[in-house]
């Protein structure tokens, strides 16, 4: 290859480095501390409402069966709210540095997380059909953890740690008595997100 050809290839390569690094820097910086904390609070409110729907009773086969459709709507709404919070904070922070919120890297991240979320949806439907709804909470932690761990491959180590924490917690939850499961939801979806948000904010700014 001629020296000129090498320079052309190098120029293309350096343009790629610029694009990827700027995307990564923006994506990284849009993992806002505030969004983590708000999402954690949404989860804690969801747990509180779940307890109210169960009449203050612990999670058990008979207490959850009748409330299952309302619980599905509640946690579906919580998931949508969490996604909306994350999207809006991403959009705000991306705009601050003159970037778009949807980028090639963002698309890769969504594709990486999608299989685990789909698996969670399928398992939710399966557990509902087979009257195993109370056990779904641990499965949600596992699937969410796998999704976050996949996102962590495109991001910083803290995200991978968060994913691992959810996976381990989900496995532990499934081995624990049903009465503990709802509190594990508060600890993981609530507490882990809040802690993550505070750590990210202190380390990288609000």
């Amino acid at each position: 290859m001629s020296a000129l050809g090498a320079s052309i290839d190098e120029a293309r390569d350096h343009l790629r480095v610029i694009r990827q690094t700027m995307e990564r820097s923006t994506q990284y910086s849009t993992l806002s501390g505030w969004s983590g904390i708000l999402i954690g609070l949404v989860a804690i409110v969801g747990v509180y409402i779940t307890r109210s729907m169960l009449g203050g009773q612990p999670v058990a086969m008979h207490t959850v069966r009748d409330a299952a459709p309302r619980l599905a709507m509640l946690w579906g709404a919580a998931l949508l709210l969490a996604v909306a919070i994350e999207f809006l904070y991403n959009k705000r922070r991306a705009a601050r540095v003159g970037k778009r919120v949807v980028s090639r890297l963002g698309a890769h991240i969504i594709l990486a997380a999608l299989p685990a979320f789909l698996a969670g949806g399928v398992l939710t439907a399966f557990f509902y059909e087979h009257n195993l709804v109370p056990y779904i909470l641990g499965i949600w932690m596992l699937c969410y953890g796998l999704a976050i761990a996949a996102v962590g491959l495109f991001s910083v180590r803290n995200v991978s740690f968060l994913g691992a924490a959810f996976v381990i917690s989900g496995a532990i939850t499934l081995l624990m008595p049903l009465t503990i499961h709802l509190y594990m939801m508060a600890l993981t979806f609530g507490g882990f997100h809040i802690i993550y948000g505070i750590v990210m904010a202190r380390r990288h700014g609000w």
Binding site: A11, L15, V17, Y28, R203
Partner: protein, 110 residues
């Protein structure tokens, strides 16, 4: 036209800023263009380089006047953040323009 394109291509290659024209330094400048400031840890994680390697290139950019560092103590630990200077921003813009000229000239059947 081909001769002119080759001439422009050579000129653009020759005009590439030697300070920025290195992958780690280019990565540092790119990261600092995307966010108002970055600390050492962020740059290290984003660029996936060792402490020593990153330090060398940050020093080179600082000596060239393209970035400036701000040192402070956070909970008794040293914490350094980096921001691009106006000269650094201008140099990066010129470098980016030169790269784009090279790729465009290459597309004109050189």
């Amino acid at each position: 036209m081909v001769v002119q394109a080759r001439s422009e291509l050579f000129d653009s290659v020759e005009s590439l800023d030697e300070v920025i024209h290195q992958k780690v330094r280019l990565g540092i400048m790119s990261a600092l263009m995307a966010r108002p400031e970055a600390d050492f840890r962020f740059l290290k994680e984003t660029l996936n380089v060792t402490d020593g390697n990153l330090s060398i290139h940050l020093t080179k950019l600082e000596e060239a006047g393209y970035i400036q560092s701000h040192k402070e103590f956070v909970r008794k630990k040293p914490h350094t953040t980096y921001t691009p200077t106006d000269a650094g921003r201008d140099a990066f813009s010129r470098y980016l323009a030169a790269l784009e000229r090279i790729v465009q000239a290459a597309g004109q059947n050189v």
